[in-house]
Amino acid sequence: MEQVTITKERRIPTSGEVFVEIGETVTPDTLIAKGMVPSQEIHELRLYRNLNLDPTSVKDHITKHVGDAVEKDEVVAIARSFFGRQTRMARSPIDGAVTDFSANKGRMMIKGHPVPVEVYAHIPGIVRELYDNEGARLETQGYLYHGIFGVGGETHGELTLAVESGDTPLTSSEIKQEHSGKILVGGSVATLDALREAVKQGVKGIIVGGVDQKDLTYFLGYEIGVGVTGGEDVGLTLILTEGFGVNPIDNDLYGFFMEHAGELACIDGTTHIRSRSQRPEVIIPNLSL
């Protein structure tokens, strides 16, 4: 395998702050940009129902006003009756802020707090270009290998061989405590138990020849659809080099992984099969440059 120049566009989907400069050297954990996006959570509270009042009377009973921050379960309106012996209350269903109140309709809108979005470098390299308020383009030298299918997003760790050869199955007994934070190279197939044990031990990623499609479905908890992956939150990133079922890793490829064992590997399971547009990748950056 030849070393190549690898570029990565790192952008957030909103305007925010960019924390790097052109020419700066970054590590995989360098924060490139951060921004806030509006919350999806919007709740309309019909306070007149909670308080059992005429809608026009609600305005006299609210405890939070437009612009006020509220916490989940915090009281936003209260009404007492029968000389204070009976109390009715309305509480906020989320953390957020009051964005609107209709005095005529007795309704209140509460919107969740903005959600932070961040993008990290993922690979070590040099900042070559900045995208105003959104991020940067990074460049590095290293080895780039594309697998055939993957799940899970970007992660990085030390490349570690977990089995003795490319045709040995990766079972749970091969996963050890010392594999925490590592990218493991398995053999012909990763069993369901091995995947679950790897998550338990904190393994960051597994590169393996194959996996039974049924085991992967159980591991994910749902069927994989059109072959667009990467957003799975399953505790590790899995990259298949050959396909579904028992498939020994190609000898040359296993040799390549053996040669680079102990080095940093930045992997991404994101796969977009349609139009063959994106396959999972393993980057082994050349840190000596």
Binding site: R11, P13, P38, F149, V226, G227
Partner: protein, 574 residues
């Protein structure tokens, strides 16, 4: 339709794998050839494959067709293309099932593959729309929204989302993404102010939904063809040169398939349903009462889209079509591998799994098609007492009892025998009444559809000749107990009657092409005239013969053995 004076056409259709050339002289196909498509690496020049295909015809016929900068003057070159996955589009609207749906129909009718649809009312917040739009990399964006003089702020909000998304076209950043605005015409200036100078090649056309009760798809569709030619195809490797060889537009293949089917249905005065299952898409075309519709299920197909079929339908629905000896674990692995690495040669096990998957793909496709092939949404319709009886306000135009002709085409049928292809069509579509079944093995619809505008009569004749007629299917609607008499067919000229029991699939292998006059007498079932009412038909028999499917509708038996009725029973010879 006009008939071109020269009458000599060279039709070229460029698909993902093959470049096909057809020479037509004096209303006949006089030459056909096929070469590998050369859009991808290492060649990266579509004209190499086209030249190669033309050369094959030249050497076979010992004639000259190709010149240095095109073709000889006596021949007209017409090109269609679906290489590189066809025309990738995204559409935006304000209300997904009003303006969004009209834009969808315009794009699908123009042969597009919709890679995503966005609307003001979809569940994604703006930032997620922006993130998704940035990932799409389409060829063309069609923006709709608002009736003329209607919605303004929502349309402009969508324009702002598009602006902020900074969507890049599929073939690189050195040109601007074609953006066709086909929404509220009264705010074209405001849309132009937002999008006109922001990296998009913006073009304004008439509204696809000028009124809530009227659709106007023509201008948007034409504009898609123009943008495809002017911006998209020119950036595909070698297409710029190819475009100079012909004075006609290079058009999306799927649009020409639709054009051919529409013309065929109109001239034959038939209702047609055609299914085309490819690698990552399932296209359904229909023409009912002169209304054409195309629906496309992107991500439902036999290679890249195969996993989605299992996801949508469930593995049990796939396994029900397979012998019980097929284990779920191995079936899943075969399906998974078909998704991630398309196979060239299928084993018999893979072929059976593909046939099972194809049935479910068609079922999903037809469900999607029902939603497209219907009346305009958002229109308040008055329902009279008469409508309730006449079913004039059926939710969809698609009606299997009124479907006279079914055509199967695409990858799903290429790897199957004619018997298995027939079963795929019967099991998935469940035709009702009397339906003629066809396969399109030659896959010439795109090329001949391109010919329609120049010589429609020749196109129609050649298309009819290119279809493989499987046979006529008689399938009564309704339910009885298994083994009860379902229907009787009286074959008039042979003076023979045959009874068919409920719950069977029978093939009567009458392979004569002579039509057979018959009376079909159902027992408490419906074959088109109502429950228990008989009909008279002239039945045409095809490659398989006559197919009688008395498994009931909706069908509940899956692993059905086909019963072959000897021809002697009908007093005929093969």
């Amino acid at each position: 339709m006009s008939s071109d004076k020269r009458g000599k056409f060279l039709l070229v259709d460029i698909t993902h794998n093959d470049t096909k050339a057809i020479l037509i002289e004096e209303n006949k196909i006089t030459g056909k050839s096929k070469s590998p498509t050369t859009v991808d690496e290492p060649t990266l020049d579509v004209t190499i494959g086209v030249q190669d295909a033309i050369k094959k015809i030249e050497s076979e016929k010992n004639i000259k067709l190709k010149t240095e900068n095109g073709v000889t003057e006596d021949v007209k070159l017409l090109c269609s293309s679906s290489a590189s996955g066809g025309l990738h589009m995204i559409i935006t609207g304000v209300i997904s099932n009003i303006s969004g749906e009209s834009a969808q129909r315009a794009a699908l009718g123009a042969g597009a593959l919709l890679i995503d649809t966005f609307s003001k009312d979809d569940k994604r917040p703006s930032y997620k729309k922006i993130a998704a739009m940035r990932q799409t990399k389409p060829d063309i964006l069609l923006m709709s929204g608002g009736t003329d003089g209607g919605a303004t702020s929502q349309v402009l909000e969508m324009a702002d989302v598009i602006k902020r998304s900074d969507i890049k076209p599929r073939y690189g950043t050195e040109y601007n993404l074609p953006l066709i605005y086909a929404g509220n015409v009264s705010i074209q200036d405001q849309v132009d102010a937002v999008l006109g100078t922001n990296g998009y090649a913006l073009k304004m056309v008439e509204n696809v939904r000028p009124l809530i009760n009227r659709e106007n798809l023509g201008p948007a569709r034409e504009s898609i063809y123009d943008a495809y030619m002017e911006h998209v195809i020119i950036h595909s490797p070698g297409y710029k040169n190819l475009a100079e060889w012909t004075d006609e537009r290079i058009v999306p293949s799927q649009a020409m398939v639709g054009k051919m089917l529409y013309e065929y249905a109109q001239k034959q005065e038939l209702n047609i349903l055609a299914v085309d299952i490819g690698g990552d898409t399932t296209d359904i075309y229909s023409v009912y009462n002169g209304v054409f519709n195309r629906s496309l299920n992107a991500g439902i197909g036999l290679t890249y889209g195969i996993g989605n079929i299992v996801k949508e339908t469930g593995i049990d629905n796939v396994l029900r079509w397979l012998p019980s000896s097929f284990e779920e674990r191995s079936v899943r692995n075969v399906i998974g591998n078909m998704m991630i690495k398309p196979h060239e040669n299928l084993t018999s096990e893979e072929r059976r799994i593909q046939a099972a998957i194809a049935r479910e793909a068609i079922k999903i496709g037809v469900t999607g098609h029902k939603a497209i092939a219907q009346r305009l949404k958002g229109v308040v319709t008055e329902r009279t007492l008469g409508d309730m009886f006449e079913q004039a306000l059926e939710p969809t135009l698609l009606n299997m009892m009124k479907t006279q002709l079914v055509i199967g085409k695409g990858e799903a049928f290429e790897n199957q025998t004619i018997e298995d292809s027939t079963l795929i069509l019967l099991d998935s579509l469940q035709p009702e009444g009397v339906t003629e079944l066809y396969l399109d093995p030659e896959n010439m619809a795109a090329s001949l559809g391109n010919l329609v505008s120049h010589d429609s009569l020749t196109a129609l004749k050649l298309y009819a000749d290119s279809l493989d007629f499987i046979g006529t299917c008689i399938a009564p609607k309704g339910k009885l107990k298994t083994g009860q008499e379902a229907l009787r067919i009286d074959f008039k000229d042979a003076d023979v009657s045959q009874v068919f029991k409920y719950g069977e699939l029978t093939v009567v292998p009458i392979k004569t092409m002579e039509p057979v006059d018959a009376q079909i007498i159902p027992n408490r079932l419906d074959v088109g005239a109502g429950r228990g009412k008989s009909i008279k038909r002239t039945l045409r028999t095809g490659k398989l013969g006559l197919i009688v499917d008395t498994r009931g509708r909706p069908m509940t038996q899956y692993r059905q053995t086909v019963k072959l009725l000897p021809f002697e029973a009908l007093g005929r010879e093969s």
